[in-house]
Symmetry: C2
DNA sequence: GAATATTCTTAATCTAGATTAAGAAGCAAA
DNA sequence: TTTGCTTCTTAATCTAGATTAAGAATATTC
């Protein structure tokens, strides 16, 4: 699926309108381990991942990396706290695989909304879906044991599981790699 | 703060436009213990809480109530999974205090967006803030111990803490009432 | 194809917070 | 002012998952 198909699922755009939309996006590439958003950098963009895989992580009190999100093909990702409040980001967005993204800066975003007001609707609906996914994630977090969460995750996200190392998955789920290893040995 | 002020923080509206906006909203009142959204009902509305306090909860595998959200004055609340997919809600929204809300049904919402396209921008921005708050909550959830989460919550949400019983707060934080009691005895 | 760095596994021990069980406050009705 | 609810507290015991410490696979580099 390409961005055009993705957008068409939320709003309908003519060829001309889509061309306008595209003109506000900038393509960028990132090698594994490089950062889309650095620690303490002000987040200025929303990223649409054309192809690849990224993780968004912060640091716990003891300085350990804690992964909060992954992003793969056809996902938008950004640090909204930093983006909306223009504050230094406490979160890092880093490529895991070679990753190609469309980058939409806040400035361009505002201009785009003016030139193509449908953009508001597009992002209103994207945000609703993202919020819904979050609400769902919270439900799993509170209603399932760590083992159940792991089993559920790899079931729903089979493809994904191949793409990130197990210890990152453990971090995302809020457990230790040793614990995942223990579950796997039972399966 | 009233709804008008709330809306003005996101978009600017003339008197006439605000009147149009209001005309799509329906006022409803709920006594403590009554439900804005029942279990397995299809969620058809977004609720803006004018005054009062509600909780949104589901059930764990063992049938225990698990609170996922609270809503108080000037918050929007809805079950987006049920709202967007038109599926029976696994979550209940219930008044804790006498609560008065504006109710915006999906039908009315679509009409409103057509008549007053600025509404898209309003809700795009509301959803971004809501998503941001969620992102922040997840950070606390993963980076703080249960005790730290409790201390942080009552610090940031002092007023709130008076309005809901301790056992509901425990549920929201994902701990037992006994554990909260233990922390409090230390303070 | 050895050397080095990453990632994963196994097993013993430990701990934050759950569970269970009682009882103590608080509060409403009558 | 007693009866009956609902909420909160205390304390003993238990457990899911963490921590620690080795070692075993697996990749990567030269």
């Amino acid at each position: 699926m390409c961005l055009k198909e993705y957008v068409q699922r939320y709003i309908s755009l003519s060829e001309e309108e889509y061309a306008v939309f595209l003109s506000y996006l900038e393509t960028k590439s990132f090698a594994p381990g490089t950062r889309l958003l650095a620690y303490e950098e002000r987040c200025q963009s929303r990223f649409y991942i054309k192809k690849g895989c990224v993780r968004m992580y912060g640091y716990t009190e003891k300085g350990k990396e804690q992964i909060y999100h992954f992003g793969i093909d056809n996902w938008w990702i950004s640090n909204y706290e930093s983006l909306l409040n223009d504050t230094p980001s406490q979160l890092v967005i880093e490529a895991i695989e070679p990753t190609e993204v469309y980058c939409l800066t806040s400035d361009k975003f505002e201009q785009l909304c003016q030139q193509l007001p449908k953009t508001e609707r597009l992002f209103r609906r994207i945000m609703e879906r993202a919020y819904m996914a979050f609400q769902k994630r919270l439900e799993f977090l509170f209603s399932l044991s760590s083992e159940e969460q792991y089993r559920h995750f790899i079931e729903v996200n089979a493809a994904f599981t191949q793409r990130v190392p197990q210890y990152m998955l453990a971090s995302y789920l809020g457990v230790t790699p040793e614990f995942i290893s223990k579950i796997r040995s039972k399966m």
